[in-house]
């Protein structure tokens, strides 16, 4: 068991370092000549993230987060952050989710998501047994619903679905009776329907997944450009820095469609390597999950890894036109300081768990 701990402590760091450096190299090769400031800010963000990661992993105890007072701070802090967007926020690409503080600008929704996942993990570990009571479950649902609708009001449906999906998977892993899970899925479905009703173009986007060429100039435009980029890349890619889709055709080649622009330049083989890294990340943290006795640690691991890996898979699915287009970035790799820092901090928490949480005593019984 101790072996697994050490192994995961080391390899979580190595995998995240590889992924971050791949992203940095890709962005800096392509953007250094045109916008060096973006590269600089990305570099600074990754430095802050790594330093924070090492600090959280070693000089901190995750069990502090479990305390009652801290839980309240987490929850209300997240909600205040989400509220702050309405007076202070600016609109970028149709989603009102950015706050500018002088030279800094950050996405409070990303931070809030991180805080809320910690809160959910703490809540589940404390009141798990009470959730068999439908009333308590409704209360929990109420707690979840407030931030969801706040993010929803920021017109960021992708993030809403990601957050709800993560919570649903966490509930699935926990010991809440399975019949209540159906209720959560219905909840998600209602949110989704509401989203579609408010903005009908979302339905067309779903249609564009199936028939991209039908909406080639409207809803399917981005998908088609991404698919062309991937097709151009082939197995080996055209070489880093040589892609042409990113210049005029592919929108957001370093954020929402970084998978497509990377697979144009690096090719299928490299992209399989990256996907494999994400998958091993999942496997290693689940192995870590098995060694833990502490429930809070378990749910925290589940929440963090699922949010990261699910985000990555949804991003890739969108790029390959398996899912409708939403503005979701690829964790570790995409351009964007806030999400990179948050993701690295959460990896730091995982490493902290590997270091501090009490070992589970397992006894093999032979019959």
């Amino acid at each position: 068991m101790d072996k697994v701990r050490n192994f995961s402590f080391l390899f979580l760091f190595i995998i995240s370092a590889i992924l971050v450096s791949i992203g940095l190299i890709f962005i800096s090769v392509n953007l250094l000549s045109t916008s060096p400031n973006a590269v600089k800010s990305q570099l600074i963000a990754s430095l802050i993230g790594v330093i924070g990661l090492l600090f959280i992993a070693t000089k901190f105890d995750y069990r502090v987060l479990q305390k009652d007072g801290f839980m309240k701070v987490l929850y209300w802090g997240a909600i205040i952050l989400l509220f702050l967007v309405f007076p202070l926020g600016t609109e970028i690409n149709g989603a009102r989710s950015w706050i500018k503080l002088g030279a800094f600008s950050f996405q409070p929704a990303e931070v809030a998501k991180f805080l809320l996942i910690i809160w959910v993990a703490a809540y589940l570990s404390k009141y798990e047994h009470e959730l068999k009571n439908p009333r308590k479950l409704l209360k929990f649902a109420g707690y979840i619903a407030i931030p969801t609708f706040l993010i929803f009001a920021e017109k960021d449906l992708g993030l809403v679905m990601l957050f709800l999906g993560t919570v649903a998977l966490m509930l699935f892993i926990s010991r809440v009776p399975k019949r209540y899970l159906i209720l959560t899925f219905i909840f998600i479905f209602i949110v989704f329907i509401l989203g579609v009703l408010i903005a009908p173009y979302r339905l067309k986007r779903i249609e564009a997944v199936i028939h991209p060429f039908k909406y080639a100039h409207t809803y399917g435009y981005q998908i088609i450009q991404a698919l062309i980029a991937i097709a151009r890349g082939g197995f080996n890619g055209v070489g880093i820095g040589n892609g042409i889709m990113k210049t005029y055709y592919l929108p957001e080649p370093y954020n929402d469609f970084i998978y497509a622009s990377m697979s144009e330049e690096l090719g299928f083989i490299c992209m399989i390597f990256i996907i494999a890294l994400f998958f091993t990340f999942l496997m290693i943290s689940f192995r870590l999950f098995e060694t833990c006795e502490d429930k809070f640690a378990k749910y925290l691991i589940a929440g963090i890894t699922l949010s990261i890996v699910l985000q990555a898979f949804i991003h890739i699915g969108v790029n390959l036109s398996l899912l409708p287009t939403t503005g979701i970035t690829l964790p570790f790799i995409s351009k964007g300081g806030t999400s990179l820092i948050v993701v690295l901090f959460s990896v730091g928490l995982l490493m902290n768990i590997a270091k501090n949480s009490p070992l589970r005593i397992s006894v093999k019984i032979k019959v």
Binding site: I224, G239, F313, I316
Partner: protein, 667 residues
């Protein structure tokens, strides 16, 4: 075995799956997702690849591209041949300018546009929703951009306060990066047949500088349109232009624009004197193959082109003026080919420059009799004399010693029959048939350059090889490509080829060719202070299979300074309209050559190698002659060209007697 298998199986399952049932379900969910991703990705890059790529090609043609400036072309001395300059345009919407007075004030305040000018434009198109307010090449668009937006903002706010309603957000606007237009300028008054020019929209009417098969270049900077290029074997500069535009690149040529201008003026003078079809002149560096000048007359400069009104010139004649005749035309250049026979024979060790050869007045090959034009007495001639006086019989005798196969091999080595690879379109390789097909008569005519045709640039290349120590250098026009900041992006290599003749043979050839100028047919090209090594060529043009004496092609190719050659300068005059006594290269091409060579020597300040003059301390000018044998070791210039007088008189008497006999028999 079965035990081992079960153990392995259990190990594997325990490695992949977890003890927790829910975790396994989540894992399976992700595995399915993973499989879907890999399947879809593979499908895109294999099965559906053609579908997407063909669609992409369609888009590329349809979509409006960002307009970048075309590349700048300069000569080797930083003179700009061609450059693109940004054009600034300001638009406004006259229909929605409800209060022109206020707008007028704003324009005057921020953009310095006078009220009268504004009113003039405004009242002309009052009802139109869109008009151009300003159009100039002199303003910097980035400098006035902020002022334009300021005017727009202030005026819209003003109108909103007054209670007007309109749907447009931009009542006044300026060109953005996506719709800038450029003007192509050609500042030099030189003939444009080398560079060509394009019209304002950027379509090349005739753009001649081509680039071929430069793989390195393609990978480094042409990544933008990489896959368009990949299919084509050759890529011309009009396409490369498109690719280079975003980089704001500069193409540096090897040319010297000032020299070209001087040459052009001199050619013009000679054109008016002789009225030929065409005059060509070219200057090439012997060691690097850099073309410094290639000039032809008649040609056209950009100024002359701009002054022409519509319909004054049709596209056919314009194209004719702009075709690079140095590479597109193949000429039978005559005696210019004689040195190659001698060089081959010397290199093979068959003869030496001083060998005596008996030359009769005529020689019979198969059924044809070849006569000499250079002398009327038979006798022994030395090899250098044969070349110097351009003796046909002598050269045929040397060639017969050499043999067909070797002559053919050497001509091939000197680059005849192959393209030179210069960066100009429409190059011919000339005509050089394989030696197996030569009849004996044809072989004899080929020794003095009939039946072989070569382009003007090929002759330059071959003479360079003859003189520079014996290696072939291919001519080049483009030196390097610079980026926006003046850094060298790509350097074109010097195209040095295989060895043709040995260093010693080259040395001897230099000496033999110097004799042509010092004692032979090209005495008019003699300089006081410089040795020049060259060869004249007068060729009768073949029209309908017959060689006509009134239509000649006068050429002269010279290299200088002869002791250590640096430049090869060739001159070609096509069909000069002169009477028969004047119809010799020594009277047409050689004076032209001398005038051009003088300019080159003055421009590049070449060191004299024949006679050095200097100021002594006492203030007198002293001159010192460099000894002739420095060019070649054999002091045979004392050899006699004309035999003694008594011998000649006796010969003449004999001939007269023979003629009388013939006349008697006829009557």
């Amino acid at each position: 075995m079965s035990r081992l298998f079960t153990k392995l199986k259990s190990n594997l399952t325990s490695f992949i799956f977890f003890r927790d049932k829910n975790l396994n379900l989540v894992l399976i969910f992700f595995l399915i997702f993973l499989g879907l991703i890999i399947y879809k990705h593979l499908k895109i890059i294999t099965k559906d690849k053609d579908l997407y790529l063909s669609y992409f090609k369609k888009i590329i043609h349809k979509q409006k591209k960002v307009i970048y400036p075309m590349v700048t072309i300069t000569d080797n001395f930083n003179q700009t041949y061609a450059i693109s300059i940004k054009r600034t345009r300001i638009y406004f919407r006259p229909k929605y300018i409800y209060e022109p007075k206020k707008f007028e004030d704003l324009l005057y305040k921020y953009l310095n546009i006078s009220p009268e000018k504004f009113e003039n434009i405004f009242y002309k198109n009052e009802d139109s929703s869109f008009a151009i307010l300003l159009d100039s090449y002199k303003l910097n668009p980035y400098a006035i951009w902020s002022n334009v937006t300021k005017v727009n903002r202030i005026y819209i706010n003003y109108l909103k306060k007054k209670g007007y309603k309109f749907k447009y957000k931009d009542l006044i606007s300026i060109d953005s990066d996506y719709n800038f237009t450029y003007k192509r300028l050609y500042p030099l008054t030189v003939p444009m047949d080398l560079v060509g020019f394009v019209n304002e929209a950027g379509d090349a009417t005739s753009f001649h500088l081509w680039l071929k098969n430069h793989n390195l270049l393609r990978k480094k900077i042409v990544n933008l349109d990489y896959f368009i290029f990949r299919k084509n074997a050759t890529l011309n500069l009009t396409k490369l232009q498109e690719a280079l535009r975003p980089y704001n690149a500069t193409v540096v040529t090897t040319l010297d624009a000032k020299l070209i201008y001087i040459f052009y003026e001199i050619l013009k003078k000679y054109y008016e004197k002789f009225h030929p079809k065409l005059i060509l002149a070219g200057l090439m560096d012997v060691r690097t193959g850099d073309i410094l000048a290639l000039v032809k007359y008649p040609s056209i400069t950009y100024d002359e082109f701009e002054k022409l009104k519509k319909g004054e010139i049709d596209s056919k004649t314009l194209n004719k003026l702009l075709t690079p005749s140095y590479v597109t035309n193949a000429y039978e250049m005559g005696s210019v080919f004689k040195p190659f026979v001698v060089a081959a024979a010397i290199n093979e060790g068959i003869i030496k420059p001083n060998t005596l050869i008996y030359c009769p007045l005529s020689i019979k090959v198969q059924n044809k009799v070849f006569k000499t034009d250079s002398r009327w007495w038979p006798g022994y001639l030395r090899v250098w004399q044969i070349v110097a006086h351009s003796d046909n019989v002598g050269i045929i005798k040397i060639a017969q010693k050499l043999g067909k196969e070797k002559y053919y091999k050497y001509l091939r080595k000197f680059g005849f029959g192959n393209k030179t690879g210069i960066e100009l379109p429409g190059e011919t390789a000339g005509i050089l048939r394989p030696w197996q097909n030569w009849k004996d008569v044809e072989f004899a005519t080929m020794t003095f350059g009939q039946g072989i045709s070569a382009s003007f640039v090929q002759i330059l290349q071959a003479y360079a090889a003859l003189v520079n120590g014996g290696y072939l250098v291919h001519p080049r026009l483009i030196k390097e490509i610079l980026d926006n900041h003046g850094n060298v992006v790509y350097k074109f290599p010097i195209k040095k080829d295989k060895k043709v003749i040995s260093k010693w043979t080259s040395w001897r050839m230099r000496r033999i060719l110097t004799d042509v100028v010092e004692f032979g047919t090209a005495k008019k090209a003699k300089f006081k202070q410089y040795y020049i090594a060259g060869k004249t060529g007068t060729a009768w043009k073949a029209i309908n299979g017959k060689y006509r004496k009134d239509k000649i092609l006068a050429t002269f190719v010279g290299t200088f300074p002869a002791v250590k050659p640096r430049y090869v300068l060739a001159v070609l005059v096509d069909e000069p309209q002169v009477n028969e006594t004047m119809a010799w290269s020594s009277k047409i091409a050689v004076p032209l050559f001398k005038e051009l060579a003088e300019k080159v020597i003055v421009k590049y300040k070449l060191k004299p190698d024949k006679r050095i003059c200097y100021l002594t301390r006492s203030g007198k000018i002293k001159c010192r002659k460099i000894k002739y044998y420095k060019i070649g070791i054999f002091p045979y210039h004392n050899a006699v060209w004309k035999p003694p007088k008594w011998y000649l008189e006796k010969l003449r008497e004999d001939q007269q007697k023979q003629n009388e006999n013939i006349n008697q028999t006829q009557f």
